[in-house]
Symmetry: D2
Subunit: 357 residues, 4 copies
């Protein structure tokens, strides 16, 4: 079941990078909800590479087709089939790497795991697969919107450049106005320069995507193994290249003391909130009504454009490999809509399991 995420709202993913298509089946959505398919396409387009942001030159039309589950503009309560064909599959590009294990890629582990694999562009291990998640997430986010929940992700750091900008001061649309998906224009400019410099050095950069989720009511999440942070963490750690996840004060909380972390309750007008939000909106695995905040660490892309590296081939012999130039320098800007999609899917599922939607 490793191709399915979720318990009640489930997203099944299928497809190889250079096969006929990738897609997703989104199930468990209630009937009768209005879905704007143009928004789905727009969000998918936001995942496309932008040259300025260190994106790949692969050009996919990424046209989303809905196969089922929506009738007269509304959900039917049946599985929503999502299909995205692979058009720009330049197979010849990959002939040379068929028998090589690229360092820090999934080639070797995948070969050991399966024995037979589609090596072209990483096959199913390629981040291309995330385009289907973005489409599914864009439907999930519309369902969340009916309950007043809004998900917003942004680039918080690329390499050593980071922004501490308060998310309350910018909108999701403003994030996407920046090719780097960083609303802090000064930081964004530094990030752009860092990427440019890395490209010159045939190198790549990692970074951090932050995400805030507003409007989740108190009472969402399931104790023990279904804690909200466990669902969000698993969703984020399923994105290629992710190395770490934290929520609220995260790793910084580990260095802190209890008196500095206490989120004192404030009662007023029939509601309960907290004065601070070190908890990141989750206490005991269940939402407390405050914004949910999380951070996701991405490693640098393992394919370094134009660089030659030592490696081994499938026969176990040492070999040399020169990466082509058609690759992202930094995946972080493109990961922003992916993080939003995974957050939307995880939160919607948690709201469903908690009986809150």
């Amino acid at each position: 079941m490793s191709n399915i995420l979720g318990e009640r709202v489930t997203c099944m993913s299928f497809g190889e990078s250079h096969g006929p298509a990738v897609g997703a089946i989104l199930d468990g959505i209630s009937a009768g909800i209005d879905i704007d398919c143009a928004y789905v396409q727009r969000q998918v387009d936001r995942r496309k590479p932008a040259a300025a942001a260190g994106g790949t030159a692969r050009r996919e039309s990424d046209e989303v087709e809905i196969l089922s589950g929506i009738y007269r503009g509304k959900t039917l309560g049946t599985p929503i089939g999502i299909l995205i064909r692979n058009n720009d599959a330049r197979h010849a590009d990959y002939a040379s790497t068929e028998n090589l294990y690229r360092p820090n890629h999934a080639d070797y582990t995948w070969q050991v795991r399966y024995g037979h694999r589609d090596h072209r562009g990483g096959g199913r291990a390629s981040a291309r697969e995330t385009v289907a998640r973005v489409a599914a997430g864009a439907i999930a986010s519309q369902v969340l919107a009916t309950a007043g929940v809004r998900v917003k992700a942004w680039t918080q750091a690329i390499g050593s450049i980071s922004t501490g900008m308060d998310p309350a001061t910018f909108t999701g649309d403003q994030v996407y106005e920046s090719p780097l998906r960083c609303p802090d224009r000064y930081a964004a400019e530094s990030m752009r320069m860092a990427i440019s410099q890395a490209r010159e050095q045939h190198d790549t950069l990692g970074g951090i995507v932050a995400c805030s989720i507003h409007g989740v009511p108190a009472g969402v999440g399931d104790p023990i193994f279904g804690k909200l942070q466990a669902k969000l963490g698993a969703a984020m750690l399923s994105i290629p290249a992710v190395k770490g996840f934290e929520y609220g004060d995260g790793f910084a909380a580990a260095e802190s003391c209890g008196s500095a972390q206490a989120d004192i309750f404030i009662a007023g007008h029939g509601t309960i909130s907290t004065a601070t939000n070190h908890s990141g909106g989750i206490q005991g695995g269940i939402s407390n009504g405050m914004p949910i905040v999380l951070r996701v660490a991405f490693k640098p892309i393992a394919t370094m454009p134009g660089r030659t590296v030592d490696t081994v081939d499938t026969a176990g012999e040492t070999a040399s490999l020169t990466f082509g130039g058609r690759h992202d320098v930094c995946c972080v800007p493109r990961a922003v809509p992916v993080v939003e999609a995974m957050a939307s899917l995880a939160i919607l599922d948690a709201m469903a399991t908690s009986g809150r939607i």
Copy 2:
């Protein structure tokens, strides 16, 4: 299904802190595997508080009874029922907090989620529940041992004190010789003093548990949503008080560049390994045969022994609450066997789903 972890090797948890018992049902273990029940008891005992390590004064016998699934010392392939009775349930202690929401605890969120809760000692939200996980994990680790897999966790940091000791230089038994579960005796002494100081100040401390898993063969893990890091992350984030998870270089990788993160392959004698292990033993969601390394961030315990805090009651009125003195100052040492248990359960499940055990 939030009380069940795993897909093929599953651990179901049940029980409230002050109800008759807590327990677990471990299922999906193959038949015919020798189980040493004394080892299970020993590992459970390692979770008990040690006064020197900032532990609570609650005294539970924590006697493990196996109800089913083992016959003549061997697994039957049927569910293994684990029962641990709650003996030291001083209910009267909790009468005063029945109508109060303790800050940064699960009281408020649980009440909103369920409406009816067992408030005594946190009920099901209590870390007492983890005792059953430790017992289940101690069975899982014996199954892993038959495949040559060894799990070892230790206290890497408490508050601002941390150790960088190389895990290759100490054994798991050496970890448990330290009341703080920190094999670095100098760091351990500093940690002990930090805990002592925090107790004087009616405060608590967070920290980090590190974990290494040796002997996992290449090819363990399932792509897309069942990535090995996603399973490990979800398992760790299900432990009470955990705020973050990372593996390999984790968040540090986000600040790095691709050329510094590449784990170059080394071929030799029919095996493939890597020169470095920035990946933490996982590439593309699948193990590569190198040690799996991960770190888990724990927040400071929200109950600060002897401290009085402002809060609200269940009627939404402001209130004042003085915590009793019978509480841990730092949960990190007691979390070490819990992290080992969760790692054992997650890895065993992943090996089963990958057809490697």
Copy 3:
């Protein structure tokens, strides 16, 4: 996951016939529902053998202990642990059959499947395991009662003796007043005589348990693989000795024509019902508000009291085996509360997945 039934309301079963205990963990029940534990005990007692009904002489106290999930008489929304100890485990009785495969039992198939088994009394394959299901079902039925759903099963046939009595003419309590669980006193007397005769001939008898479920609102059931009949069928076919399942007109419908099967709608006072109920309350996998009716076929018990049969031993050699006298002649009366339990669990789960409870 073969020890778990259900998707949202789940029942996990554990335990061997002659191990320390059998039990169940019932999960997914909402919080705040009143549970009468005495009723649970009473229903469990109804599964006990009655000599007059061809029951075994095994005497178990079958005392039900609730380990968790209920506090102050109400459900907590957490797993409800159910424990029933095995007291009357006369192990010596089974030494002689350790190395024999009893014909038409699970001995041989279980041995091939697992390699190591608890042969005593059939171990986990024993119908003793169903006592835990009855306890879990007795909790489920109380939850159903809050929604006006009532489950009633009865003995419809034993061997060639059957009753066509209309279930509208008797209550569930009246069923249990009959040792044979057959409310038709004339048929019951014939059944009693048939059982007596079979016992004299060292033989056993099969039969049919019928079940009606009233009060299920229209709209319960999930299309495609989660059809209400598929859930009910799977639940019934999981009971030991069951060979067939049908609902509505069942196999008789296969011999019929469409015009004779049409359940014409009747509209009135804002509700829709049907003039006939050939459909058995289910159309397109979803309840239509009419009573759900089903029938379950049980084969004769394979252990024939006092009879000597040819068989083979675990070494594959031919052997002879004489069954002891301490066995049921007919399992059907004891299966009545088991069918009720499985129906309650399946219907409650379907109501939960359909958002109807």
Copy 4:
């Protein structure tokens, strides 16, 4: 999860009868297995209506497209996406029934369940959905063939006409040479006449599909809720129009006595078989190596071609409805490949959960 069947080998179904497409995602198949896509298409074509057999006049090309999971003719171990477009969707035909509930159909129950539905041709409740199952099953059966397992279904009865022909005397291909999928040519001729007569009377007929599964090794099946008969039963009961399921002697066993049902073991040459097969190849929920035999009862189709019936509309008013002539008189012949598909999917999943493939 009601659109997914199976635990390890899973088949997810999607699509409405008159939407863009129907399809399935088959997951959990091992990597490296040869798949003949032409066979998949052939099996799908076998589900098409034949006029002589009482089939509908709907003409779908039913062209199967594989979207993913197969590369160079072999499975990849990744999800196998199957797409079948709906071409012959004469929407106008269904405008008249948009506001009517057809008796004995899923219209009313679906409307209550979902509120918003695609009424055209029954939408997702249509048997059209089974075409995707047949395609998935045709892949599953090729995987089973690598383990020597062969599934064969045939029409055993239509209305009151039945055949008692021994399945050992005919092949699967011979079944498909008959338009009625009945290898007994005398019975087939009677069935053809019965269908012809029913059509003249604007009526429809039910029937029985029998299925035998050869080559399943002993040891397949999972005790308690995952019994082989429970999986097979649930799979069959998920087919539209199925009213009953039995295996081995089924309902007849209920009227029998133990001595007549005992399948005495025969040991020889290192194998164990049974002299008779009343058990139908399953004992204690686990296969015993003998052929698995089962029977599935189908009700008559509720749409009676050309007949006018009383019904109610969506406003609850009485109405009259005349069915068009473009409909099957008997679904049984077309159900034969569907039963084979469901048997293949269920057996393959059981072999996977039992570690036998």
